[in-house]
């Protein structure tokens, strides 16, 4: 069985899956728009939660939330399922495909054979769309690949039941019913308000601009407190979460800038054009941080010379983002 599904390549998996599924069901949607409506932009630094033995640092909301929030804001009915039994999970996937539904799935990257070996690592929050099955191969639209790929059923089963942090537990999700009409402007505004709230107003020092400032304070002390090896591992981890893993660069800030540009047109709000430019500049600042951090990791600059500068760059990111999201909140609040 093979569903007629249009595959498009994107920078990030979950916003790409969301955009491709919405497109399939008749709502033309870019990756940036799916990311923005889903309130994808975020920052959290949670030193007491470890991913691969390193403190959780993220520039996006938790896996699954972009699809969940974007569809909810657009009034779309969706179904989500998780399983304890891999055979049951596979049978349900086959049943859904037989009804003609493309199905989103959460997987562990390490077990997907179509990933080049150099890119396979233990990350269980990778999303893709299954749109068919031929013999023992599933047909897959993985948004980070240029073309659709095939995956043997035995490998997809392993990927859907990968163990560890963010274990997918066979998670499947799909669109059940589309509304007769969409209120796109309201969905966009709700997405923007959500991001402004989490970046500015969550009363926890780990989240939003406060989280960036906490990371700046702690990072400045890493060389003396943790030693060189652990310091470099932590720094490398931040670069990975910020510039790799399909972020579009600058910790998703460039994708968000593209969303604000689209939003300016759809909401007929020229203020958002300037704020999109400002968001790009913030992304550049994050990238400057990643550049110096990468030079430290590669031994091109001395650790002792760099950590004050790195901490200062993070403080600058926090200050710029505080201004950006306050202005964004004001620009949307008037509408």
């Amino acid at each position: 069985m093979k569903i007629d599904f249009t595959h498009r390549q994107f920078a990030h998996c979950e916003s790409g899956v969301t955009a491709n599924l919405l497109n399939h069901h008749g709502l033309p949607c870019s990756e940036a728009l799916a990311f923005g409506i889903g309130g994808g932009l975020f920052f959290a630094y949670v030193p007491f939660i470890k991913i691969n033995y390193l403190p959780l640092t993220t520039c996006r909301i938790a896996p699954g939330h972009i699809f969940k929030k974007a569809t909810r804001r657009l009034g779309i009915e969706v179904k989500k399922q998780q399983f304890s039994n891999p055979a049951t999970a596979e049978a349900e996937l086959d049943r859904l495909l037989a009804t003609g539904r493309p199905v989103g799935a959460q997987t562990g990257v390490f077990w997907l054979p179509f990933f080049p070996p150099a890119y396979r690592f233990h990350f269980n929050g990778h999303n893709l769309v299954v749109f068919g099955k031929e013999a023992d191969d599933y047909l897959i639209s993985d948004p980070i690949f240029e073309e659709t790929v095939r995956c043997p059923a035995v490998d997809l089963r392993k990927a859907r039941f990968a163990k560890g942090a963010l274990a997918p537990k066979g998670k499947l999700y799909y669109i059940e019913k589309m509304p007769e009409r969409f209120d796109l402007p309201q969905a966009i505004k709700a997405g923007i308000r959500d991001v402004c709230r989490t970046m500015l107003h969550v009363p926890l020092p780990l989240i939003g601009v406060r989280g960036i400032r906490l990371l700046a304070r702690q990072l400045a002390n890493w060389p003396g407190k943790l030693g060189e090896q652990q310091t470099l591992l932590r720094l490398g981890h931040i670069i990975r979460m910020q510039e790799e893993i399909g972020t579009g660069g600058g910790g998703f800030r460039f994708i968000y800038a593209a969303f604000l540009q689209e939003a300016a047109e759809l909401l007929e709000n020229d203020q958002l054009i300037g704020l999109s430019q400002r968001c790009t500049e913030v992304g550049d600042l994050w990238r400057e941080f990643a550049l110096i951090a990468a030079r430290v990791c590669k031994g091109r600059v001395a650790i002792s010379d760099s950590f004050d500068e790195l901490a200062q760059l993070l403080r600058q990111c926090a200050a710029e983002e505080e201004i950006l999201f306050k202005q964004l909140q004001a620009a949307i609040g008037k509408q």
């Binding site: 390549q9 920078a11 490398g236 593209a258 992304g283």
Partner: protein
């Protein structure tokens, strides 16, 4: 942009990433830029250096809707991307 643009990019990468014992003319335009098969010996940390070097030198930002992973596949894909984003100079 010259016919030797790929070679110019190879020189830029060698300079910014401190690559040693590699000559720009020895790098095939379609060889992997990043990863274990890269003739430059670049890894993902070097990728940050490359995208910033490209932005500072050519004023072209790699990111957002344009996936860095695709753009940084080889000298050819990188050169094509810069040509596309700098149509006036190509």
């Amino acid at each position: 942009m010259s016919d030797n643009f790929e070679r110019e990019l190879a020189e830029l990468i060698i300079k910014f990433c401190n690559v040693e014992d590699v000559s720009p003319q020895d790098i095939p335009a379609d060889a992997p830029l990043i990863g274990p098969d890269s003739p430059f010996g670049l890894d993902s940390l070097d990728a940050v250096e490359v995208v910033v070097a490209v932005q500072k030198t050519y004023g072209v930002r790699i990111g957002g809707k344009d996936s860095g992973r695709e753009v940084l596949q080889s000298l050819k894909t990188l050169a094509d991307f810069i040509r596309l984003k700098q149509p006036a100079k190509s």
